[in-house]
Symmetry: C2
Subunit: 500 residues, 2 copies
């Protein structure tokens, strides 16, 4: 145990391990939402489980999030039903398939939807409390203790034509943006109640493979604890739940360079991709590595949705009633870089006190000609495009981008333009959506599609249900992390170890 | 040697090899442009070289290409100088950096540019003949035996503002689209003249790593020849030059799903990604896997450049004087899917006899109102956008997308609209731009950036100089393949093997 310079991609071999310091059935790496759920399920299935967490406390990126959880289908969760919604598996599958676009993993989506109402019940049985109410406003999160919220683009073109819309974001019963800490407090209590061992302040350095077995199954971990390298023998499976790679700028530059135009990485300091690198080191495939969530969170106030977003050509480019992450993805594709949100002053509303956006006012003007000049947009373009929008909005139609009627009304002066150009101060949060390729059960796969025995991944270490920034919905990450963690924990606990 | 079901990602171990059937200094996998150049350079450096080629003849995808070769910088190649161009390293680096965008590999670009004029001379010394003439028209390739051609977006916005424009596509002295076969005929003759052994009809199954050495360097290959598995010991290096993965639909779906909306893969049947998979199997990183070249080759006739491209909103979205691959990349980003090229009938010209595009005529009309109606575009949009374009084109400006003056003139009726919507018949060729991460010398790298001793990659098995479809220029693939092949061959031949 002499090598202090271990790299996560360099797996160790069982034949080189002279002594095992610990021995467990299932080792879970990372104590965020995915890791907690994996550990609970593995323990409940009878496995002896140990969690290794880099930080000094449980939480991970789940505790930093709002912990909206995307759930529904099959007649609806208890909350959906109480609020009068009849969700269906078909509607939820259709929406998730559309949102994942070319990258959709049908098997994973089908499993997620088929288990979603049961996942809600599982969370409730573990002590998570959801109130049977809906938050009716367009918002990024509920700041009340209400539960149900539209958190994606379900009511917006093109999704509204592809899938029956239904709200599926479930917020915990707590006021303010405090769902994440509460969820992790409950999950940590569940872990503690089961007597699951947790090693905090422990850095998992690399995996150990059994070089004496065909296919070299994963059979252990090397962990640094108290400045010592500790060899942990794992009989059934290692579950990697140690996050994505948004905090590893070298990996972002190499694998997801397009995200570098955003300005605020969302995650915890441990999101350095080490789980993905460990998987690569034993032959797992990492897929969808270029993709990420990128947002222009331009609401609340919801009234900003009455505005229009224009690019450097003064052209609209999206229906402004879609999810803020979809807007962010499209903003980054616009030629010329500059992006403005054009509003009537009355819709500017309480922007200065309620917005997350952080965009500064680029211009204020009484007429569109004046506004166009101040913004240095090509002469005549904003005039035409606003006239065109207003003319049709008065008739409650948007022939270009099909914004929903509820958000269509002519924009009248005086006008305000907010500068949403990337790099000019507006808030552009981002995180990664690529990771290890896995089966719906969480088994890690090689590039040829073969299962790597003994290795599982969940949460953002894996490539899960959410696959595209332009189709993302809030609640998919915590939904996917908790669900995929459970599946991986169950699968790892059920694995029959090969003799060694 | 019993396993007939070898997977490329499953490397073998030296300790399991009971007998080596062959022994070479440098093994080159694939006999296309990259492999030929690697073998020639390794042989000239004194190494004993063997090429393993899946097909029954040399050629690879290089022989199927036009074999334009992107070269220049440093005062210019002999042809550039003869045609009156004074290219510079600065201009060429600036252009390639801009074209690679967020994904640019500065070290690789600098090495490519610094060696580019010498690469031209090397090709000439090997027998490649270039005529000291320029082909003046805007074209995808020269069908004459002229040499020099603008093959990218050098003269178009935004590149023209970022780098001094210079033509760098070098076409071999041969009429018709026959540069590829000629280039490979010359390279194969060079290989033969050196007495380099070539095994045709041989399928390299996987790599062998030396499990008795630290870091497990690559030390051999398992090759299937005449239905037998043959173990080849390699003393210095294996150079993987066996193409990209455009012909492997499962890999395209998993790694580059966005390319699936194109309709014609460009490459040879061996472009199945097996080199990339072999690299992954020994811990190499594959990067930029989502990217590809996607083209809407809407010229010749060059006169179609006088037209405007519009999306489903009737909006222009690009300067139509840029490279066809840049147009293809932007077409795939347009909301609503439908894409039309709007032309005056006089510019339609000899489209029916000279075009590659294959787009059908969607509408013909005497007035724009009529055209707009026939195309079912949102009422008034095409009218405004064409008026706006024409008004400014008459003054030789394009305030929206900065199309160059040479291509600006008002579009007058009668009008023709070509249907360039993906999936409606227009030709959308594509190939992959992701591959193994390598140093400029061609050494394969792990995800942590460590060199994998004994393993090299070149051409489309590696991730090279061209990185983005929207910044691609013709000649970059054959330029990069031949140059990176040479670098890898030199580096492999120079490697001091570790004792075993």
């Amino acid at each position: 145990m002499s090598d202090l310079h271990s790299r996560p991609t360099q797996a160790r071999k069982r034949s080189e391990i002279t002594h095992w310091d610990r021995c467990v059935d299932v080792a879970v790496v990372g104590f965020g939402g995915a890791g907690a759920c994996a550990a609970i399920e593995a323990s409940d299935a009878g496995a002896q489980v140990m969690i290794f967490e880099l930080a000094s406390a449980a939480g991970g990126s789940t505790a930093l999030s709002s912990a909206e959880i995307y759930m529904g289908g099959d007649g609806g969760t208890r909350v959906q039903q109480a609020c009068g919604w009849q969700d269906s598996n078909r509607a939820m599958v259709d929406y998730l398939v559309a949102s994942a676009g070319d990258q959709a993993d049908l098997a994973k989506i089908n499993a997620y939807v088929a288990g979603s109402v049961a996942h809600f019940d599982w969370l409730v049985a573990r002590g998570v409390v959801f109130k049977d109410t809906q938050y009716p406003q367009r918002a990024i999160m509920t700041l009340t203790d209400d539960c149900l919220l539209f958190t994606g683009s379900e009511q917006a073109h093109p999704y509204v034509e592809l899938a029956a819309p239904c709200p599926r974001g479930h917020n915990l019963q707590i006021s303010g943006d405090n769902g994440g800490p509460l969820l992790m407090k409950i999950m940590a209590a569940n872990v503690a109640a089961r007597g699951i061992a947790v090693e905090y302040n422990s850095r998992v350095l690399t995996l150990v493979v059994d070089d004496g077995q065909p296919g070299n199954p994963v059979c252990g971990l090397i962990v640094r604890i108290d400045m010592q390298e500790v060899a942990v023998e794992v009989h059934r499976g290692v579950v990697l739940c140690n996050g994505g790679f948004v905090m590893n700028s070298a990996m972002v530059k190499k694998y997801a360079p397009g995200l570098q135009r955003s300005n605020t990485p969302i995650g915890n300091p441990g999101d350095t991709g080490s789980g993905i690198l460990m998987g690569l080191g034993v032959g797992a495939a990492a897929i969808n590595m270029h993709e990420g969530f990128v947002s222009l969170p331009f609401y609340p106030p919801a009234s900003l949705t009455y505005g229009i977003l224009v690019n450097a050509q003064g052209q609209r480019f999206i229906n402004e009633d879609c999810y803020h992450g979809r807007v962010g993805a499209h903003v980054l594709q616009q030629a010329g870089g500059r992006i403005f949100l054009i509003l009537g002053y009355e819709d500017y509303g309480d922007y200065e006190t309620s917005a997350y956006l952080g965009a500064s006012v680029a211009a204020v003007a009484d007429s569109i000609v004046e506004l166009e000049t101040e913004l240095a947009l090509p002469e005549g373009q904003l005039q035409h495009n606003l006239d065109y929008y207003n003319h049709h909005a008065a008739a409650a139609v948007d022939p270009l981008f099909h914004k929903a009627k509820a958000w269509l009304k002519p924009i009248v002066g005086p006008y305000v333009a907010l500068d949403c150009t990337p790099g000019r101060g507006a808030f552009f949060p981002y995180f990664t959506l690529g990771g290890l390729d896995t089966t719906p059960a969480g088994e890690a796969l090689t590039p040829a599609g073969e299962v790597i025995a003994g290795l599982y991944a969940a949460g953002r270490t894996a490539c899960g249900v959410p696959r595209r920034g332009d189709g993302y919905a809030s609640g998919l990450s915590v939904g996917d992390a908790t669900f995929s963690g459970r599946m991986a924990g169950i699968a790892a606990a059920a694995r029959q170890p090969t003799a060694s």
